[in-house]
């Protein structure tokens, strides 16, 4: 496996312009001869499918939900960053670039991040032209808000549902192309494998989730826009259907997987209420502007919070980070909450929670002001917990939220398999070891609207893929492997449901490869996951058949892939013997418990090559070179 990032030379400001000029073009009349298979219909996949169809390519788009409008991008609340400098507060492409590289704890690729910052402004223009109803000032101009990790106001938003509005904008563009016949849409269709012919990605094998039919599709390029893998923890803020299958299957067919250990744990989620819990719900981090985080000073103090006097409360973020206080960054706030709970001072069921208290803010500002700022969030909290945050402090706990790792891609967003492009959260680019708030939406749309439509043309113009149909022997081979796998799942006839395995895996990963990791805990994962996987194939019980809608079978397939992926994730976390961003190795911390990076040994992306079943994956490295931003230690004291 060769890692050629293909970053153009020259000053960082000119790389993308230069590259756009140097890339080969496909004649407009010839574009319709190329067929692109886009898997996923979220911000990345939807925007790519629509834009490629507008250019004239033949596009087939696939999603497992009943409509492309359901993709999980829809759940993003806060906003989308763009270097517009509408507020005249000193923002620029350079500053957005710098903030993103620093926020990622210096583990991302400079050239990619710079390009992201460059195209960010065009994304806002595009979305407004589509009719995305962003928040406005009274004069009719676009409104901005501030977000973590930045000192300028560059976040555009649509109430608390920015992801929804951006996705509906991109769904509208996609729908237009579907109506024109330029995109053929396949909802309720799940990718089960990728087909490589003569070293190039030439197709996919899918399962129709309504009829159960296994189908093959051939094309000239495959685009994976299938999101992240937070559901390896079972409980996360991801939608229930989010899974690693597409990227994992592609990895097993030759695509390098980069930095799988980079996961983001969001500090303010509603804690688990019991064993029945199916997912976790995020509460916007804006709450930390007025809420104060605390736990009782004494272990096992189960008194009603109102009965605990201030002297017996530990406002630990204010104590440990006096200058940032309750607004400490996500990774730090999350780790501190875990530390308090591990020390036996957690509150609520199971002691896995901390208070986020608005008592002082309500006293200072009055209930109406707090209601205006956070009313909808308080309502949502009350709906879920049946507790009134005006009267009792909120209980919060960190939860897996986003994954920075993903399939390795070059500057053209192409994986190590020619023709296999990966966009959005599914790839590893741009966020390094920690993503800043409001940057996920930006990256998904940048990839789909403004990067891939250029780079995929270059691939077609230079590689000239030969004609291939699903009659090719390789399609038949992959298809029969897919069918065999399903047959094995259905015929195990064991005693445990797929969900019970998923829960067990999730607990293991959360406890040993979650917010804090150590060599010992990771070795335990590496020991226990293969055993659990073996048990899965022996003892899983998948009720129902293949040729019908079968939700148990869908789930079993996803869990089976998580059971393989989890091992690679732990291996990557073990090999990365440093702390950086969301990856915290307990062995590598400063005396006061902060993450300690090791730039001497780990200033690189780790890229894993699959070497076959039962054999250890091969480690490759892409060195990260910082020419425009100086490596520095983050401090929030």
């Amino acid at each position: 496996m060769k890692l050629e990032s293909g970053i153009p030379d020259g000053p960082i400001q000119h790389k993308w312009d230069k590259h756009r000029f140097e890339m080969k073009l496909v004649n407009p009349a010839n574009k319709r001869r190329f067929r692109v298979l886009v898997v996923g219909s979220g911000l990345a996949g939807g925007s790519a499918a629509a834009s490629l169809a507008e250019l004239g390519y033949e596009v087939l788009c696939f999603c497992f939900q009943d409509s492309p409008r359901r993709a999980h991008s829809i759940a993003a609340q806060g906003g989308i960053n763009a270097a517009k400098n509408y507020q005249n507060d000193g923002d620029s492409v350079q500053r957005l670039f710098y903030d993103t590289v620093k926020g990622g704890d210096f583990r991302s690729r400079e050239a990619g991040v710079y390009r992201l910052a460059q195209v960010s402004a065009a994304i806002i223009d595009q979305c407004v032209a589509q009719g995305v109803p962003f928040a406005r000032e009274y004069g009719g101009q676009l409104a901005n808000r501030s977000f973590g990790g930045a000192q300028v106001s560059r976040t555009f938003y649509a109430r608390g549902q920015t992801g929804q509005q951006l996705l509906l904008g991109c769904y509208a563009a996609l729908s237009r192309q579907i109506g024109l016949g330029a995109v053929k849409m396949f909802p309720r269709t799940e990718l089960l494998d990728v087909v490589i012919v003569d070293g190039k990605a030439r197709g996919i094998v899918t399962r129709n989730l309504v009829s159960g039919a296994i189908e093959s599709f051939a094309g000239d390029a495959v685009v994976l826009a299938t999101g992240g893998y937070s559901n390896v923890f079972y409980l996360s803020t991801n939608a229930k259907g989010c899974n690693v299958t597409a990227t994992w299957r592609a990895h097993k067919r030759g695509a390098g997987f980069a930095n799988p250990c980079y996961t983001q744990i969001h500090p303010t989620c509603i804690p688990q209420s019991g064993e029945h819990q199916s997912k976790l719900t995020l509460m916007s981090e804006s709450l930390r502007n007025d809420g104060r985080v605390w736990v009782p000073k004494a272990q096992g103090d189960t008194r009603n919070p109102a009965a605990i006097p201030d002297a017996e409360r530990d406002y630990y973020l204010e104590r440990k980070y006096p200058s940032f206080g309750n607004l400490a960054p996500r990774d730090i706030a999350s780790r501190s909450a875990k530390e308090a709970c591990d020390g036996g001072r957690g509150i609520g069921p199971g002691g896995r929670g901390v208070y986020l208290d608005f008592r002082d803010a309500i006293q200072r500002l009055g209930r109406p002001v707090i209601g205006q700022r956070y009313g909808n969030l308080f309502e949502m909290y009350q709906r879920i917990t049946d507790e009134d945050p005006y009267e009792v402090p909120m209980r919060i706990y960190p939860a897996p939220h986003y994954t920075m790792g993903g399939l390795w891609v070059d500057y053209n967003l192409m994986s190590t398999v020619p023709g296999l492009h990966v966009i959005g959260e599914a790839n590893f680019s741009d966020h390094g070891a920690n993503r800043l708030g409001a940057s996920a939406l930006m990256q998904g749309l940048a990839d789909g609207y403004f990067v891939l439509p250029y780079t995929i043309g270059h691939y077609f113009a230079t590689s000239r893929p030969a004609p291939v149909t699903t009659d090719h022997a390789e399609f038949k081979r992959v298809r029969s492997e897919v069918e065999e796998r399903i047959r094995r799942m259905l015929s195990a006839r064991g005693k445990r449901t797929p969900d019970s395995f998923h829960r067990e895996l999730g607990r293991l990963m959360w406890n040993h490869c979650g917010m804090a990791r150590s060599a010992a805990s990771l070795r335990e994962v590496l020991e226990r996951v293969p055993a659990l996987r073996e048990e899965f194939w022996r003892d899983v019980r998948v009720v129902g058949g293949q040729t019908e809608m079968n939700t148990a079978l869908e789930q079993a397939g996803r869990v089976a892939d998580f059971l393989e992926f989890a091992e690679l994730m732990a291996r990557d976390a073990l090999v990365r013997d440093e702390s950086c961003g969301g990856h915290f190795r307990e062995e590598h911390q400063t005396p006061d418990g902060e993450a300690r990076r090791d730039d001497e040994r780990f200033c690189h992306a780790t890229v894993w090559e699959h070497t076959g079943e039962g054999s250890a994956p091969r480690e490759h490295r892409e060195p990260l070179v910082f020419e425009n931003v100086h490596l520095a230690t983050r401090s929030y004291k």
């Binding site: 834009s51 517009k84 065009a122 223009d125 406005r136 819990q277 879920i384």
Partner: protein, 248 residues
């Protein structure tokens, strides 16, 4: 809590369905409605029986994939709430709960509680967009949009496309859904060039599906989890009539 569920089971499209009863002896009031169904499904699978198929994804009230008619009401008894955000504390201990799919001939049952809402996608593809290709958009601040108009657009754009409006309507009309998209774009300058065409095309596509006509009963507004207001139906009618007259 102890509950009795009467759930619609249907093997596939076009097949006969029936209500099936299940006892759940130990439901926590903190469970969401879908988590309660998860428990039922785990139990069914443990007994070697097929789990109940139901649509769901984000489980935070925004993707619009969850559905269900619960005790005769789309998305259940709590106002402005999707099924996934409904919690069992809204029900009495010992209650019997009826769970059915969204019923409309335009939403054929796929299996058990899953229905096919593809008709909504087809209506959207007929005109629910601004015809603008990627690239070449003017600066986002070049066209000011007053805050009040922007807010009205956003109120309508909040629609999650779940289809509760259709399920609740005695005529299975899709006017609230179509009106929401038409209203969203009609309140923005970007939507003006295609405004007339959009209303005509979307209504035509709606009529081509099996939806009924609106009789101003407003059950749709009552069940809408995002509180889309009936005014969008009036706005749709206005745009449609204006466009139809112009065409004539």
């Amino acid at each position: 809590m102890k509950l009795t569920l009467r759930i619609w089971r249907q093997k596939g499209p076009g097949e006969a369905g029936r209500m099936e009863s299940h006892e759940l002896p130990d439901v926590s009031p903190d469970m969401s409605f879908l988590e309660m169904l998860d428990i039922l499904n785990e139990r069914l699978q443990d007994q070697g029986k097929e789990p109940v198929a139901f649509d769901h994804d984000c489980r935070e009230g925004i993707c619009g994939m969850c559905s269900l008619v619960i005790d005769g009401v789309a998305h259940g008894p709590m106002r402005a709430t999707t099924t996934c955000q409904l919690h069992m504390r809204s029900f009495a201990d010992g209650a019997t709960i009826d769970v059915e799919p969204f019923r409309a001939s335009a939403f054929p049952v796929v299996k058990d509680l899953c229905v096919d809402r593809g008709a909504f996608d087809r209506i959207q593809a007929a005109g629910g967009f601004v015809s603008v290709n990627t690239g070449g958009a003017p600066d986002a601040n070049a066209i000011p949009v007053g805050k009040l108009e922007a807010d009205l657009a956003m109120d309508a754009a909040a629609c999650i496309g779940c289809g509760a409006c259709v399920a609740a309507c005695p005529n299975a009309s899709a006017m609230l859904f179509v009106g929401a998209k038409v209203s969203h774009l009609a309140h923005l300058p970007q939507g003006q060039p295609e405004r007339q065409q959009r209303a005509l095309a979307m209504v035509e596509a709606m009529d081509a599906e099996d939806f009924g006509n609106c009789r101003n009963i407003y059950e749709c507004e009552a069940v809408c989890p995002k509180e889309i207001r009936r005014r969008v139906i009036a706005e749709l009618n206005r745009d449609y009539i204006k466009s139809a007259l112009r065409e004539a």
